[in-house]
Symmetry: C2
Subunit: 173 residues, 2 copies
């Protein structure tokens, strides 16, 4: 593999001189969900780095062959063992400094039964007053919660698009 | 490289036995824009495969280090030489059968000056009556235009999220 600008392109790529294969690297999409049960919001305590021990909304890297909604539901099941129903897209966060896009749906849990998987130390339902603001995992999670609680008060949930600046937590993802 | 499920994972990945590098493959994000100048919509005629000779909204694979908005503006400049201003996210299309997500913003052109780049045979501004419905490049482009024209009539632009089924054009992308 060498690094050069392929014919017809304008960026340096990893390129195999032998077989002409171009290895494109593109931003990764993280899909997640903000989910309520009787007014309380589902959070998971991370059992893995980065940000082990911090609370997060269920979310993770989207996999090939799935939709964004399916990915958000899969992550919710993997991290919290929760049975969720998506209602609408809620917020998109751009994190260009780490080449990620975080997309959160909003929805409801069908029951309060939680069964955290190996990626979570625990999972829980939090009222607005009990959200662990000082122990959240990522800036996108913090802003997603803030936006959601604000929208819930107004009873209106427009779609949000937010560009996030570099911050220390993100670098660890 | 071998293919196996890494420790702590639940999917088969390309894995280097020598250095333990895991090569994750994730869906690609295509970013684009639906842009107006004096009520007419910008379309570009593709000079490259797939769908050479068909009309498209400016759009392309998002690059590392940029935001979704910046990517949509870059593609607009590369494909149409147009100076655009983004107003809001407009529609997200899931294409799980080709592991892609297409995200379109809506906005305005600052002028009608167009200067199509090497990826476009031409670029033009189309009124609703002149849109070349039979010569559009991709299903996401067709649906994006339909949704936009419908919203414009109502004067309301909610964010749309659409799951697209397998269709022949998409396979060529």
């Amino acid at each position: 593999m060498s690094r050069r600008i392929p014919t017809g392109d304008n960026r340096i790529r990893d390129y195999c001189e032998a077989c002409t294969y171009i290895h494109y690297e593109n931003p990764k999409l993280v899909v997640g969900a903000i989910l309520e049960f009787e007014g309380n919001i589902l959070l998971c305590k991370r059992a893995i780095e980065p940000r082990l021990g911090y609370w997060t909304l269920p979310a993770g890297f989207m996999e090939n062959g799935e939709s964004t909604q399916a990915g958000a539901l899969r992550e919710t099941f993997e991290e919290a063992g929760a049975d969720a129903q998506i209602e609408a897209p809620f917020a998109l966060f751009d994190l260009p400094h780490i080449s990620q896009v975080h997309l959160f749906y909003r929805g409801k849990l069908r029951s309060s039964d939680l069964n955290p998987g190996p990626e979570s130390l625990e999972a829980g339902l939090f009222s607005e007053a009990t959200i662990p603001w000082d122990s959240l995992s990522f800036e996108s999670v913090r802003q997603c919660l803030k936006l959601y609680l604000c929208d819930r008060k107004r009873g209106q949930y427009p779609f949000h698009s937010v560009a996030l600046e570099k911050c220390s937590e993100d670098d660890q993802r």
